[in-house]
């Protein structure tokens, strides 16, 4: 066991050189690399934290926008629903009004139709009634309808003698109105009948196509009439009753 001091000195120098070499090529690069990597990791963490904060902020903005959008959407939906409701109500009201109008118009049209039909029936019924009556009178009694009407009017004048005089007062003319111009013999009979009760009266005959078949006497303030309207009305009532009854009776 001996110490070679030259070797000791050389080993000291070698060791110091080795310290410098390892410091230069091992420790410093490794530690600097580790520090740089840690710094980079820290920087990345900072970036990640910032990115997370930005993401959170963006998320908050997005959620706020989403909430605002949903609110706007709900408002718009509510407004549209309300508008649709109003339009629906308006359309329903319009339809109801139109239906009411059409129903009213249809009812009016039906009434017009019924009135027209009734008038036609009235006219046709009256005409048929008169023709039948006239034919029956001619066939059975060799009489004309106008003559029988004039006779009937004469009877009524006789029956209402007092009343007629009282109502006629001091009248000096009498007007006989008929549906069409009466035959001269009939006019003469009526004139005779009236002048028998009112000797000084002047009898005048007029034709009114608008009037129903019959006679109307107007003398002063009194008026006496006989027309077939009452008969036709009776016939109309009878036919209406028959139609109403017929609708309930089933055919055999």
């Amino acid at each position: 066991m001996s110490i070679d001091w030259i070797t000791v000195a050389a080993q000291l120098a070698n060791f110091l050189v080795l310290v410098w070499l390892l410091k230069r090529f091992l420790y410093r690069p490794i530690l600097d690399g580790i520090d740089a990597r840690e710094a980079e990791i820290a920087e990345r963490m900072q970036v990640a934290v910032r990115a997370k904060e930005e993401a959170n902020a963006a998320e908050a903005v997005f959620r706020a926008q989403q909430a605002a959008l949903q609110s706007e959407q709900a408002t718009a939906t509510e407004a549209l629903r309300r508008q649709a409701e109003e339009e629906k109500d308006a359309l329903l009201k319009e339809v109801h009004d139109r239906i009411d109008r059409e129903r009213t118009a249809w009812a009016a049209h039906l009434q017009d139709e019924a009135r027209s039909f009734t008038a036609k029936m009235h006219k046709a019924g009256g005409h048929a009634l008169l023709e039948l009556t006239r034919k029956a009178l001619i066939d059975l009694a060799d009489e004309t309808l106008e003559a029988r009407i004039a006779l009937h009017l004469g009877k009524q004048i006789a029956a209402m003698d007092q009343d007629l005089e009282h109502a006629a007062g001091a009248a000096d003319d009498a007007v006989i109105i008929s549906h069409e111009a009466l035959p001269k013999p009939i006019e003469k009979e009526i004139t005779i009948a009236l002048q028998r009760r009112f000797p000084k009266i002047d009898v005048r005959f007029e034709a009114d196509p608008a009037m129903a078949l019959g006679l109307s006497l107007r003398i002063g303030g009194a008026q006496l009439a006989w027309t077939v309207d009452t008969y036709i009305d009776g016939l109309d009532t009878h036919m209406t009753d028959q139609l109403a009854a017929g609708s309930e009776v089933r055919p055999q």
Binding site: D4, A10, Q11, L12, F15, L18, V19, K23, G33, E40
Partner: protein, 231 residues
């Protein structure tokens, strides 16, 4: 029988004889530097480290954590010094298994040189840390009567470091050589394996003790603790 590689003159450069201790020290230095240069070239922070660089980082960080644990604080200069001590001693001792390789640590000259470097480093680190006056005051602690004892303690630290490392490594090599002549196959293998373990332990102890000595000189003495030689 040559017990020390100092006596093995391998070649002469410019009239200077180069013995086995110096030559194999250069080999260890070349290996350490070469591997370091190879693994730390093109080092970039944005490139993930490969497995070799990771292994190197693990070694360096392990040494650094040990030193920081003992020194109770980070110190890069202490890492350079004690880390180099550890790596040099460890690699020298590990190369014991290479046939024909004479570990430089089996030379008392090498261990003396390393112990001297520790002896020099302790006051250097102490003066750097505390200043000249502050460091010299530590020799008077706890009282001036302890001055000679402190001086003897400092000297004995270096001697014990040198003798311990030399004795362990040299004895292992000598025992292996003796056993090689007695039983050429089996026992040398066992002794070499044991020598690997002993060598690593000695490298660790040498570096740890150097760190303890240096850190005790750089930090204020604690009243409840006493410096003891762990060997």
């Amino acid at each position: 029988m040559i017990l020390s590689p100092d006596q093995m003159i391998l070649f002469v450069i410019w009239g200077i004889p180069i013995n086995a201790t110096i030559f194999y020290t250069w080999i260890v230095m070349a290996m350490l530097t070469g591997v370091s240069m190879l693994l730390t070239r093109n080092l970039r922070a944005d490139v993930p480290p490969n497995r070799w660089r990771t292994a190197l980082e693990v070694i360096v960080q392990s040494i650094q954590s040990q030193i920081e644990e003992i020194a109770q604080g980070p110190s890069r200069h202490l890492l350079y010094f004690a880390g180099t001590l550890f790596l040099f001693v460890a690699v020298s001792n590990l190369l014991l298994v290479v046939p024909g390789f004479e570990p430089p640590t089996s030379s008392l000259s090498t261990t003396t040189a390393l112990a001297l470097s520790v002896l020099v480093a302790v006051p250097l680190f102490g003066i750097t840390s505390r200043g000249l006056g502050g460091y010299l005051k530590t020799y008077l602690q706890p009282s001036f009567i302890m001055l000679p004892f402190n001086i003897i303690s400092e000297a004995s630290r270096g001697i014990s470091l040198a003798i311990r490392l030399y004795g362990n490594i040299m004895s292992g090599a000598v025992i292996a050589a003796i056993l090689l002549t007695v039983a050429p196959f089996f026992f040398p293998v066992i002794m070499d394996v044991l020598g690997l373990l002993t060598g690593m332990i000695q490298a660790y102890i040498f570096a740890i003790l150097a760190t303890v000595y240096i850190s005790s000189a750089t930090k204020p003495p604690h009243p409840s603790t006493t410096q003891k030689d762990k060997s």
